[in-house]
Symmetry: C2
Subunit: 322 residues, 2 copies
């Protein structure tokens, strides 16, 4: 069994490869909910939905998030009703938020709703939100504002400088049912090439998940979301400095840290463009390798998934039978 800690687009592209390398039925994905947002009364889970849309080819191929062939009639009407259109909801996308929110209002936990949505989309792997409790990534800006992540990122285009990032609710949140068990029983755990600050940290900030990651016998391997000092997409370059980490592939791996020193990782995969960082990683006690990490087609993603598992001594075929 393989467990993946995942954010949105980067993780989704990686999962497209992993599902080709490993039997999807053997994959559990623990998905960030820190950047979820409530808008017009709807619970929006961008990371869960990005993964769902990517794995079902519903995703908008150029935009890389949201739905292909999307329409915006509801957004246009909401604007006519006076709503500030800072966060665009497409009509197709909105139907999923309506479906999810109606179930949540009935008291169905997010993990159950997520399983329902995955089943309705025919997903063969298992998606779990990190928690059924609300964990909210808050951006504290240097000008003293306390913004929800989406408000800072989408609403303000990540322009305000970041003083601090808070995972509100994480300290008292419980892991969603199945998360701890999956981590305990895994053959390998993969940290997807997602934003360390707002995709992975809100997951590991849940104490029960952090404890399970510390105690699992499974090796933990991560993939750098930074290539040659640049983010592949997103805004990690605006956030890493705020948590004292350089925008550098090896530095991100070192920030996760080696398990022998109380860190998270057994191995770290970076791009060939960052091979000069391998020495620092090895010196820190990490298995590390440099390979092609851009996942422009599913075959490249499949190879990256294989390489990542093999780096920590896991045979993808054997993991798929686990």
């Amino acid at each position: 069994m393989v467990v993946v800690l995942a954010g949105g687009v980067g993780a989704a592209r990686f999962l497209r490869g992993l599902t080709a390398a490993v039997d999807p039925a053997a994959i559990t994905v623990v998905v960030n909910v820190g950047d979820d947002v409530e808008l017009h009364g709807l619970r929006i889970c961008p990371d869960l939905d990005s993964i769902t849309y990517w794995l079902t080819d519903l995703v908008h191929p150029e935009q890389q998030w949201g739905r292909a062939d999307e329409r915006f009639t509801v957004r246009d009407e909401l604007e006519r009703l006076g709503h500030e259109p800072w966060f665009t909801l497409g009509d197709r996308d909105l139907a999923l938020h309506l479906h999810r929110t109606a179930l949540l209002r009935e008291g169905v936990p997010l993990s159950t709703v997520t399983a329902d949505v995955a089943a309705r989309h025919g997903l063969a792997l298992r998606l779990l939100p990190a928690s059924d409790d609300r964990v909210e990534t808050r951006i504290h800006t240097t000008d003293g504002r306390d913004l929800g992540f989406q408000r800072w990122w989408v609403g303000e285009r990540a322009a305000p400088d970041v003083a601090d990032v808070e995972y509100r609710g994480a300290a008292t949140a419980q892991p969603a049912p199945g998360v701890v068990e999956a981590i305990e029983r895994a053959d390998a755990i993969v940290i997807a090439p997602s934003n360390p600050v707002v995709s992975i940290a809100p997951i590991t900030a849940v104490p029960g998940i952090a404890a399970a990651l510390r105690s699992t016998a499974a090796p933990i391997v991560g993939i750098s979301p930074i290539i040659h000092g640049r983010v592949v997409r997103g805004m990690a370059h605006r956030l890493l400095p705020a948590v004292g980490t350089a925008v550098d592939a090896a530095a991100v791996g070192l920030a996760y840290g080696a398990r022998r020193d109380g860190g998270l990782l057994d191995g770290w995969v970076l791009d060939t463009a960052d091979a000069d960082g391998l020495e620092r990683l090895h010196a820190a006690g990490l298995a590390a390798t440099a390979t092609a990490t851009l996942m422009d087609d599913p075959e490249l993603a499949r190879r990256l998934a294989r390489t990542s598992l093999e780096l920590v001594g896991v045979d993808p075929a054997a993991a798929g039978r686990g």
Copy 2:
């Protein structure tokens, strides 16, 4: 001041005429909420919205409800997600439900939300829901089922025979703020040509509204929704027999009853096709007249509004200055 007790389409068409006959600023419309429905977690108020769409020319002209140039992307997606498409929500319409529901969830009362929606649409008259409390019209069928009104009407095309109609919650509901005051201060009260059983009765079933109607000094005039034994639109013919009323223009007026006998009405307007009923109405102590009640264009609706007010001795121009 003129107060109108109103359902949906029939009332909306009448109001298009009344606003031409009387200064809209002098009109308060008390609108049925008994056929509101909660769907996908959204509060849908068909009668309030029909009136809003008609008075702003947003209404679908042939269908006579919902929005013109409507799209159905969200509905199609919800169907893909497994939802039974028994109640069609258009995308444009849905935006209004989202707006309303988000405010209601914040604890804003429906009457305040309604004022907000009316203002955003530039309505010159005042719309008030009958109550901020939930009043729910339930259809008890002869085969023993207890159906929400929309489920019976839209979901089952009014096919199941009706044993009884219940206005759940009405007995303990409070009139929305402003309703009682408007009735007390009115120069005239008009019962729109709406369904007596599921549009008007759920309003008058609220005890505070019934009491205000009993005690007001203003004359009360109603317009028949039945022409020559047929409903102009809708399903009143399926409901009137269940409450012991014939599907007949004069019979509906007599069922409302004359005020001298503890009923609701001072006057009743029916179509020229039903002039043979005038004698029975006069005999019951009602002012009554026969005129053209089909409102196929706004001018016919304007004349009907004038005739109705004049029947109970109210000068439309004077009422508009009230």
